[in-house]
């Protein structure tokens, strides 16, 4: 079946750098995408979402870019901090008989060094 996946399993950066986490999806009918952050020992936490009628959406220090032509999603974190160290998942929300199903990508671990 169709799935959502990530390019890089681990990304190591220095504190203060900008981080970019990438995600490829294969379901061209998907119209809603979410980035989640999962810290060690915790559940996934919502970061930011984007709908397919948008190319870019900004939050606090985070930006999500959507390129529907190549079915690519990215999460940019500005001025990365040690507290940003976590596993990041992109997820695709699809509708099924009026209900939503969340399909997760494989996850990228972000390691931030002080």
């Amino acid at each position: 079946g169709e799935s959502v996946g990530l390019h890089l399993p681990t990304l190591s950066v220095q504190e203060g750098d900008n981080s970019i986490i990438n995600c490829a999806y294969s379901n061209s009918a998907s119209d809603y995408f979410i980035w989640y952050k999962q810290e060690s020992g915790k559940g996934p936490q919502f970061i930011i979402d984007i709908r397919s009628n948008m190319d870019k959406r900004q939050g606090q220090r985070v930006t999500v870019l959507l390129n529907k032509t190549v079915k690519h999603l990215s999460l940019q974190i500005a001025a990365t901090q040690p507290g940003d160290s976590a596993v990041y998942f992109c997820a695709e929300l699809s509708m099924n008989s009026g209900y939503s199903t969340l399909t997760f990508g494989k996850g990228t671990m972000l390691l931030v060094s002080p």
Partner: protein, 117 residues
């Protein structure tokens, strides 16, 4: 003021036992989910309930039986536990997607770490 809570946080048990995991949400959502996260961190949907009614039932062994006494609770009972059931189980909740297909974000609990020996 925990939004989505799960108990227990850790569960260690012997193969063949029966165990239950409980989930409660105080967000006023009408849809709840169970996900399984394996050792490689891969998250996969298992079940979804809306207003106590089973909506999604992925390919999960029938040893797993969800139960929703009300729309704020979704429990997961597992019979005859197997080694391969060891994983982290996450409960999540959301509003049902609204008319017109407007999506609703899912909020996750802290997880239950199940280890079957």
């Amino acid at each position: 003021d925990t939004a989505v809570s799960q108990t227990p946080k850790y569960l260690v048990t012997q193969m063949g036992n029966d165990k239950s995991i409980k989930c409660e949400q105080n967000l006023g959502h009408d849809t709840m989910y169970w996900y399984k996260q394996d050792s490689k961190k891969f998250l996969k949907i298992m079940f979804s309930y809306n207003n106590k009614e089973l909506i999604i039932n992925e390919t999960v062994p029938n040893r797993f039986s969800p139960k929703s006494p009300d729309k704020a609770h979704l429990n997961l009972h597992i019979n005859s536990l197997e080694l391969g059931d060891s994983a982290v189980y996450f409960c999540a909740s959301s509003h049902r997607p609204r008319q017109g297909g407007v999506q609703e974000t899912q909020y996750f609990g802290p997880g239950t770490r199940l280890l079957v020996l």
